[in-house]
Symmetry: C2
Subunit: 202 residues, 2 copies
Amino acid sequence: MVLDFYFDFASGYSYFAARRIEWLAAAHGATVRWHPVLLPALTQVTGVLPSPVVPLKWRYVTRDMARTAQEEAIPFNPSAAFPQMLIAPGRAMLWIRAAHGEQAALAFARTCFQAYYADGVDIADKAVLLGIAEGQGIDGTAFLAGIEDPAIKQQFKQGSEDALAQGVFGVPFVLADGEPFWGYDRFGQLERWLAAAPRRAA
Amino acid sequence: MVLDFYFDFASGYSYFAARRIEWLAAAHGATVRWHPVLLPALTQVTGVLPSPVVPLKWRYVTRDMARTAQEEAIPFNPSAAFPQMLIAPGRAMLWIRAAHGEQAALAFARTCFQAYYADGVDIADKAVLLGIAEGQGIDGTAFLAGIEDPAIKQQFKQGSEDALAQGVFGVPFVLADGEPFWGYDRFGQLERWLAAAPRRAA
């Protein structure tokens, strides 16, 4: 069983999902493929407005995120720069995956999420990203060149197009062998779906 | 504790919520106030696109509704006319409330939801609404005049404006003594919030 996990570093619910997805997969013998995407690239195509630009909705969403974080004891102290569009972290993750492998890319992604949503650090700042990469033993000069590499830029852009082609119109989004689950609020349903998978196969 | 419950007969998730809200309230000694609103009147103001007009999203939502219904054993066999804008059922409920009281209004609302989402009957059809009302012993001539009454039309319109003024931008939406919960997928959180209310008060 493969879980294709689509997320945007700019999305608070993606942070919640990122904290839980590997545990959920491990509990059911599934493998996770992490796909950083750019939510505005998805919403631009569908015409759906991102929550932060709808004041009435955003006021609710900030409250809902805080309430969910409190209920599930998730560290949640977002950067003052939140919400904002984030492009560099996604590109950086893809470059690290290409240059240093999957485990380094996931460690980088986790540290970015943690920094932005729990420690209040602005990961739009390239100096911050550089610090995270160097903290993992990655060469800083190569890293800064990597996130400006046209091939990486193109790969990140293509990732959002590929997501749309799979029916992914928002984040977080999980395709569990093709079965779609949109939103962190569907993780309970996703868990029950995974638990029932052996029965479906039998 | 009062639960202000905002719903639109046109919303499948409102049907799910309507089936559960009184049980949830009863379990925690709360009272429900039912507020029919017109979702397009809310989304027109916020600029949010209703799901049915976003094909990629609607394809997912139909799947999600069916999956939720199956998981929770909710009878779900929507009318072929679903989704569509529904105005008459909301007006009819308000008129019945004014003319025949709250219990008659709630019985009418439940029968409408049931007919549309479980029995596949199109409640946009005024003959269907008339049948439901007459089945409750309501005079048909008065009923048909009632749903065209300008005062009732105005009251239904005002209901959506009042909802917006309370921060209600979607349906189903519950305000639990002011605490906002948007979506049927927040009913678990709402239940835990109600369960914790005595502790908060202490």
